[in-house]
Amino acid sequence: MSRRRMGLALAAASFAWGLAAGVAHATDISFWTWRQEDKAAYNELFADFTKENPDIHVKFESFPDENYPTIVSTALAAGKGGDVIHTHAYGWLEQFVKAGYFEPQDLTTVPSLANQPADALVAGTYRADKKVYSLPFASQTLGLFINKDVFAKAGLTPPTTWDEFITVSKALKDKGIYPLANGMGTSWFNEMFVAIFTNPFLGQDFVSDLTSGKTTFKDPRYVAALGKLLELRDYMPPGFEGIDYDTAGQLFISGKAAMLAGGSFDITTYRSQNPAINMDFVAPPMAKAGDTPEVTKFFDGGYAVNAKSANKEAALKLVNWMGTKEFGDKFSALLGNISPIKGVVIKDELLAHVAKLNETAMPHINVVYFRFEKPTGSELLQGDITKMMSGSITPDQLAADLTDGLAKWYKPFQGK
């Protein structure tokens, strides 16, 4: 072998070694989620991350939604689990943090936390030490879907106040259109339904009175707001007690119903099911003209780092990147979710409108404040609301059950 050839061979060997070393030093981290349907979008996002961080490769691993809490808790308790874990918010997150399974995040490890608004951070904060453990990923807005074509055809204008809502609903019903598509057949959504229509009657003052312990759910304002829900029964489809949220969605997108109390998380779904739909998403009816339009908002969850991860540094790097505007812009565009990151540009007109509504939104009271211990407000409300809507209990009874149940762990309600 000539010297030149030997030199070339050595150079090639060194290059190959360098490549091999590069592969050997690359860090593979896993991202665990229940959002199986978002795989393509996340893989695209993770590819962008790897472009910026060639040493880190992210593997998307998803699990069935209904088993996700059990899978995550079993894995974490065994010292395993993904490096970055997609978490639900509030009480769900808190039980894991309490057990020490997630790494705290601060501005030194996750500088992009600075891009998050305060109410979003609450969703990922552990109440006991006030530290953030999960970077919020999306806000969810609850309001009223409007089928604009149905309204145009009926010669009606979508309502803004409660009185208008009743008048318009009567007119729609007379024309053989279901005014409101919703039924009471889906427990988790029933809780959302209550929040959507009661929040405009409650207002921010009620929230602060409730959280400061000045009042309870037995408050006449809450009982009266519940009473308003009973008026809706006349404008829901026949047999509404047994109509689930999926059917309601079908009634709405097919034009059989004019309005649907729903969540911004379904905008993409409805569009994919009926690309021709001409819809709007507005604030639910206000108590009276001149009030501030109030949608309901909560944060669905966030991204946490497994405290036992062998690749904590890489995992924190990924989470930090998921808090940047670059991520938020693309995340919103790909998934039709509203990123809470400040300055994110939402190109979709309807989603941008929802983001605007968020500026005056009310928190989802039950989800944000009463899902931390058992019995949760959700368990109590979901059980009672169908009874109230079918007339077997009164709003007063529901309010009392909710207050007394929560008093088991929520000190401000004790003895009231």
Binding site: S73, M184, R371, L380, G405
Partner: protein, 311 residues
Amino acid sequence: MNIGRRHTTKAFPWRRSLWIASLLTPALVVMVLFVLWPLLSAFRLAFYEFNGLQPTGFIGFENFRKVLFEQPYSGWTYNALKHNIIAFVALMVFENGTAFLLAYSLLKALPGHRIHQVIVFLPVVLSAVIVGFLWKLFLHPLFGLVNQTLALVGIGAVPWLGNESTALGSVLFANIWHWLGFPTLVLLAGMQRISKEAIEAARLDGAGDYVLMTRIIWPLIAPSITIVTILTFIGSFNWFEIPYVMAGLTGSPGGATDVLGLYFYRTAFGSTTTGIQDFGQGSALAVMMFIIVAGVTAIALRYLRRREIEL
């Protein structure tokens, strides 16, 4: 060869024991690992405060006290228990009662009885989840087959699964439709074992169908009735899939379809929307279910076996 083996076994009895033990070991290991150990763990967990995440703390009978005597848990427990009992009674009367009549008609080999037998037994081979989905669709207030049919005679949309007074009955109906073939087959097998002479003798003595069924067949198929009763009891207390698929994990509407299996699952593993897990309280419910099922089954077996002998 045989003699040699016998000789070996006699000379070395421990070898025979070793041989049996080696055959039993794999099954025993599986039993201990996957049945006994989880069962004992569930019993142990029932006395601990444990959410599946943090170290446990022994709290004695606290979990039992909560599910039996502390609102709102106790209210949920008794509501679910009540529905299990209703399910047992309804299944005994409607499912097994119908099964008895069907078995008798099949025994008489009326024209078309083979097709009849296939039709009755066919749903049994379906998965409970599929049956649940099927009946959920059939009972849909707006688009379901049942309501579409009722609409033809002017009856409006009935929210079968959304109304507190009809929800449990609807779920039970689906369950009966699913399982009817099973007790029918067991009872038919019992009837087929009765000697033809006994039936013919009764016929000659002038016994009609009613007398034949109540005086001859009913007592003579006592072992089959014991099996059907015990299995119905166990089934109605372990009831889960069909109520879960048709009415959801929370037993909607307003707990009208809640049963102990759903309540136990919700408590232990948390629901998707609430997510708070409580393995301790869930285990207490599971232990209670175990005690009820094992206790009542033992008592019922004793009573029913005695009845078989007396008959």
